[in-house]
Amino acid sequence: MWYIYISLCLGILIGVTNILPEKIVKHNDKFIIISIILLLFVMGLSIGLNKEIIRDFGLIGVTGIIYAVMCVLFSILVVYLLTSIKKRGDKK
């Protein structure tokens, strides 16, 4: 897994030093989108491999989904409250 952080750092280094020609770098946003789509497809592949879990998804699966949705909702809520408190503080 260390490869991914090495390539992130390598990318930052290339970005900072500006060694790639502008002609290539200006398409960087497109490269990001294409590689995200590739990543998502491979992640889909890895999800589909959990055949047993998919076959008897049932109640356990629904339970898992409810946990995920609730955790996400309350993370958003707490961070929303924290950042709005901070904003109000900044105005004063």
């Binding site: 897994m1 490869y3 991914i4 952080y5 090495i6 390539s7 992130l8 750092c9 390598l10 990318g11 930052i12 280094l13 290339i14 970005g15 900072v16 500006n18 790639l20 960087n28 946003d29 490269f31 990001i32 590689s35 995200i36 789509i37 990543l39 998502l40 497809f41 491979v42 992640m43 889909g44 592949l45 890895s46 999800i47 589909g48 491999l49 055949k51 879990i53 998919i54 356990i60 699966g61 339970t63 898992g64 989904i65 409810i66 946990y67 995920a68 949705v69 609730m70 955790c71 996400v72 909702l73 309350f74 993370s75 958003i76 707490v78 961070v79 929303y80 924290l82 950042t83 901070k86």
Partner: protein, 201 residues
């Protein structure tokens, strides 16, 4: 919205292909493919971070406040877990252990397996895989309509690697860096949190 639809279609397409056509023995190959495609994506994200010259100055201005964000994410997640547990009549300790996985599904299910058996571990696995998926689906929308900070909080531990590209794409380089720090801090804490709550079961 367009991005979200592409995301759903791509993931489902991948899942269908592997469910019907790829044998279980290919698991390690696909894990390698994830690492490779993630490396490629993060390389490009790195370039866009590196090209932004004000970035580190902006981050310095933010200072220690950057630590509050992961704390908010964790507290919110634990509250959400406990409330779900009350609704579904699960023990608080199990709910907290599931919630404190924060999207890192491999670790939460591995720690829970010897404690709860297959059922608890599977719930933790699905809950945390779903958190990762929800991050891909919700980040583009929440970043635009609510705030980039709230969008980052969805991803939990995953915002330093797997979901960093989608956050970088939906916000800007500054928030990409915040996202990386957020995910890094949470990833350091997840093993301790899951172990702690699992020990209370």
């Amino acid at each position: 919205m367009k991005m979200t639809i592409y995301i759903i279609i791509t993931v489902i397409l991948g899942a269908i292909v592997s469910y019907f056509f790829i044998p279980d023995t290919a698991k390690s190959i696909i894990e390698n493919l994830i690492t490779i495609s993630l490396s490629i994506t993060l390389f490009f994200v790195g370039i866009s971070i590196g090209r932004n010259k004000h970035l580190f100055k902006d981050l310095k201005k933010t200072g220690l406040k950057v630590l509050i964000l992961p704390l908010g994410t964790i507290i919110g997640s634990l509250i959400g877990g406990v409330i779900t547990g009350i609704i579904l009549k699960q023990s608080h300790a199990l709910s907290l252990a599931i919630a404190s996985g924060l999207g890192w599904y491999s670790i939460s299910s591995v720690i829970l397996l010897p404690v709860t058996g297959a059922e608890g571990a599977t719930i933790a696995f699905i809950a945390n895989v779903m958190r990762e998926m929800l991050t891909f689906l919700l980040v583009p929308f929440i970043a635009k309509k609510v705030s980039p900070y709230c969008a980052i909080s969805i991803g939990g531990a995953t915002t330093m690697d797997v979901t960093l590209p989608i956050i970088a794409r939906s916000t800007n380089e500054y928030y990409a860096l915040i996202s990386f720090i957020h995910g890094g801090i949470i990833s350091l804490l997840v093993p301790f949190l899951v172990n702690f709550f699992a020990s209370l079961i």
